[in-house]
């Protein structure tokens, strides 16, 4: 009878805030999909200069991949009540994030030294545009990590569901911008 029809998935397993975060990934993805589509269209139009991607962008890639790993461990540590792993993982992750930004900056400077300017050929303009807007997303992630660090150092170590959730949101966002970078780098390497 009627009770059979009651939706068993009521209050689904995934927390709504997490769900909202994942939804926002769709938005960010669309934004970069727009950039990369515009890139392809522009490239097909001709007058497109090829250039080598400076090494720094590969170093930054290694840094961000590592940061995702340590942040993952840090999150696990938090859930398991392992304070040290939580804390040092977070510090290491944040530092690696900053290294990523530093490497991107250094990469841009090398590009400029090589004569690839923002104002020059569209291939360069796109490269700067895409990496720059991505870097802004990383900076947002670093800001979130700073908030997490602040909490870790000011609050008593206590893995409440509320705080686990908050940290999870931060780390999941970080993984997302990490994967996003891998996609962008692959794109820039293969479609040039």
């Amino acid at each position: 009878m009627s009770d059979l029809s009651i939706n068993p998935s009521y209050r689904s397993k995934i927390h709504p805030k997490k769900f909202a975060l994942y939804t926002s990934f769709a938005s960010i993805t669309m934004m970069f999909a727009a950039f990369t589509s515009a890139y392809i269209v522009k490239q097909a139009g001709g007058n497109w200069l090829e250039f080598a991607i400076p090494t720094q962008f590969y170093i930054s890639t290694a840094a961000i991949l590592m940061s995702s790993v340590v942040l993952h461990l840090s999150l696990k540590g938090f859930k398991q009540g392992n304070q040290n792993r939580h804390k040092y993982g977070m510090i290491a992750g944040t530092i690696l994030g900053i290294v990523f930004i530093a490497m991107q900056c250094s990469g841009w400077m090398t590009l400029v030294d090589n004569g690839i300017y923002l104002k020059g050929n569209a291939s360069g303009s796109f490269f700067y545009l895409i990496t720059l807007v991505h870097a802004l997303h990383i900076i947002g992630g670093i800001a979130a990590l700073f908030v997490a660090l602040y909490h870790t150092f000011t609050l008593k170590f206590e893995a409440t569901p509320q705080r686990i959730l908050r940290y999870e949101l931060t780390v999941h966002y970080w993984h997302f911008v990490d994967v996003l970078w891998i996609y962008l780098l692959m794109f820039l390497i293969f479609i040039k």
């Binding site: 938005s27 007058n47 569209a122």
Partner: protein, 614 residues
């Protein structure tokens, strides 16, 4: 036949059958229910935020409509003196020695641009979907509030800020942006291109970027709420069509607005950092700029990839509202519920692959156009399914012709008229003649402008009691309806003919075109009709504000005898929506005239042997 059952004891049923989520044990509400500022200004309650969106939308609608009257005067009476507008427009009215005032052409373009921007984004996006998504999503799915009330509040304040900046741009000395609501480069990309391209365009970009943030925050919240916070028993297939419409609208927004943001980023780079994404071979005052290699077509792709979904972001909420209002006031189940849902989904999907029908004439490859022609015409199929179902829903119903119902029917009429002209335009060969003429203006005003407004009016008249505990005046509502219906057709119907004759849109004056001389009288007629319709809208505004304080009071909680959950909440709205249990849902939203019952609310359990209707 036995007497129809028409009353239900909601409180008893909810106490016995409802779902106890222990909400009121936590006292969430108190922290932001106290004090005027937190209650009415920085509120996180979805019902208050809905009203904020609505009030702000009304404010912008008045400004945007007033602008259209000014440029209509220019179009209808180009010879008359506009000196009397000097006190309002200041230096934009140029008065010669003889005392004859003329509207500055730059400002004419600025008015047209602002009119479009304001109506499309601020009124029909934020004012329509912001208002009703906020009001109805939690109430109709049986949730205490949005998934994130905080983001919801931010969504409103980003919109507010976007509005403040756009409003400010109206008063700067070089005037607001004047390159059209679509902001095509080069007018939008080169600050020196025209008076409005400088500071005006910068402010336009800042404002709309904030607006994109607002839409995203709102949309993410709506989608999350619909998918995660539905009450017990509220399966997706039992959701009212309003919720389906808001849900798909939010998805469209989440996926398409970021693309606009990308276009904006590139525009900002072109404007401020010297890149040439959208610029090539530009000469200003005989001097070639050093911007080469870009193409404005790229911007058009990015813009219309948002732009076409955007028109459905505007119309889908109106469709949802019309479906609901038609069913309630016809006392009949909506016809073809599943087909309605599927056509919303189909329209949502197709809206992403038709954008280039706005660009048939901008030099895209004709073979690519063919592809877009086909998909554009396919949109007519789900659209026609919806129209058919609306008509069948009211067919033979026990129709109550109140203001809400009239506007819902008017919506269907407008959607048919405007949809048909869309089919003309969707053919790239016919569009060679029609593109950028008044035919296009007529098409989108009827199908989007007027139809969406009708949906919005239907929603306001219908849910006004839910929002303010009082009714709007029916007499004024009916005058409003008939005046607007006749007036809107009087304005836009003739524009089709003007457009077919080839009269281009966005021209300040047609003085130098002999071929268009015979439209002088028709243009006067349109201007008069527009002014009359404007005055009739003021009647609505009057009715709206008068009724907040003086309207007939709501005495029962379900005055329309509707089945959806919002009418099971107390007349006096409270934080958390239901004082005790939240309702559990046992049936779809359209059980009207079922068996011997006149209507059966969604929270009424099925009786032994009863079957679900769809």
């Amino acid at each position: 036949m036995a007497e129809l059952i028409t009353t239900y004891d909601t409180d008893v049923i909810l106490a016995e059958q409802g779902y106890d989520d222990k909400f009121h044990e936590h006292h969430h509400g108190d922290k932001y229910q106290s004090g005027f500022i937190h209650h009415y200004i920085f509120s996180m309650d979805h019902k208050i935020i809905a009203r904020q969106f609505l009030m702000t939308g009304i404010f912008w609608a008045i400004i945007g409509a007033a602008m259209s009257i000014i440029f209509r005067i220019q179009l209808g009476y180009p010879e008359e003196s506009m000196a009397w507008l000097k006190p309002l427009l200041g230096k934009w009215i140029v008065v010669d020695e003889a005392g004859i005032g003329t509207l500055a052409p730059e400002f004419y373009y600025a008015l047209v641009t602002m009119h479009g921007t304001i109506l499309v984004f601020f009124v029909l996006t934020a004012g329509l979907s912001g208002t009703f998504s906020n009001l109805l999503i939690p109430l109709q799915i049986g949730a205490r509030d949005m998934a994130s009330p905080f983001l919801n509040m931010l969504s409103y304040w980003f919109f507010f800020l976007a509005g403040v900046i756009m409003f400010y741009s109206l008063f700067i000395s070089t005037g607001p942006f004047s390159g059209g609501w679509t902001a095509y480069p080069p007018l939008s990309a080169l600050p020196q291109a025209s008076t409005g391209s400088g500071t005006g365009m910068t402010l336009w970009l800042v404002s709309l970027t904030l607006f994109v943030v607002s839409v995203l925050l709102g949309g993410i919240n709506y989608v999350t709420t619909v998918l995660n916070l539905r009450t017990q028993g509220m399966t997706m297939w039992r959701m009212p069509l309003t919720i389906w419409a808001f849900f798909v609208t939010a998805i469209l927004g989440i996926l398409s607005f970021p693309v606009l943001a990308s276009g904006f980023f590139m525009l900002i780079f072109d404007r401020s950092l010297g890149t040439s994404f959208f610029l090539s071979d530009i000469f200003i005052e005989g001097q070639a700029l050093d911007r080469v290699g870009g193409t404005p077509i790229l911007y058009q792709h990015l813009f219309w990839f948002l732009g076409h979904p955007e028109v459905y972001i505007i119309i889908l909420p109106a469709m949802g509202i019309a479906s609901e209002v038609l069913s309630v006031h016809a006392r009949k189940p909506i016809f073809g519920y599943k087909a309605m849902v599927l056509s919303i989904l189909a329209i949502g999907f197709l809206s992403f692959i038709v954008w280039a029908h706005h660009m048939f004439m901008s030099g895209v490859n004709p073979f690519i156009s063919n592809f877009f022609v086909v998909f554009t015409l396919i949109i007519a199929v789900p659209s026609a399914v919806k129209v058919f179902n609306w008509i069948t829903t009211i067919w033979g119903g026990n129709v109550r012709l109140n203001s809400a119902m009239l506007f819902a029917i008017g919506f269907v009429s407008m959607f048919i008229s405007g949809g048909l002209t869309g089919i003309f335009l969707g053919n790239s060969a016919i569009d060679i003649q029609m593109h950028d003429t008044y035919f296009v203006v007529a098409h989108f005003h009827i199908v989007m402008g007027v139809a969406a407004f009708f949906g919005m009016f239907a929603g306001v008249y219908h849910w006004y009691p839910k929002m303010f505990g009082r009714f709007m005046s029916e007499t004024m509502g009916k005058i409003h309806f008939w005046g607007t219906l006749i007036g809107a057709y009087a304005i836009f119907w003739p524009m089709h003919y003007i457009g077919m004759a080839g009269v281009p849109r966005r021209y300040y004056s047609f003085d130098s075109f002999d071929a268009f001389k015979h439209f002088t009288e028709l243009n006067k007629f349109i201007t008069i009709a527009a002014a009359v319709v404007f005055v009739i809208q003021l009647l609505f505004v009057l009715n709206f504000f008068y009724s907040i304080w003086k309207g007939k009071k709501m005495t029962s909680r379900n005055p329309w005898e509707a089945t959806t959950l919002e009418w099971s909440t107390p007349i006096e709205p409270i934080h958390g929506n239901w004082p005790g249990n939240i309702p559990s849902v046992h049936r779809w939203a359209y059980d009207y005239n079922k068996d011997e019952r006149e209507y059966v609310p969604q929270y009424i359990p099925m009786v032994e042997g009863e079957e679900e209707d769809h």
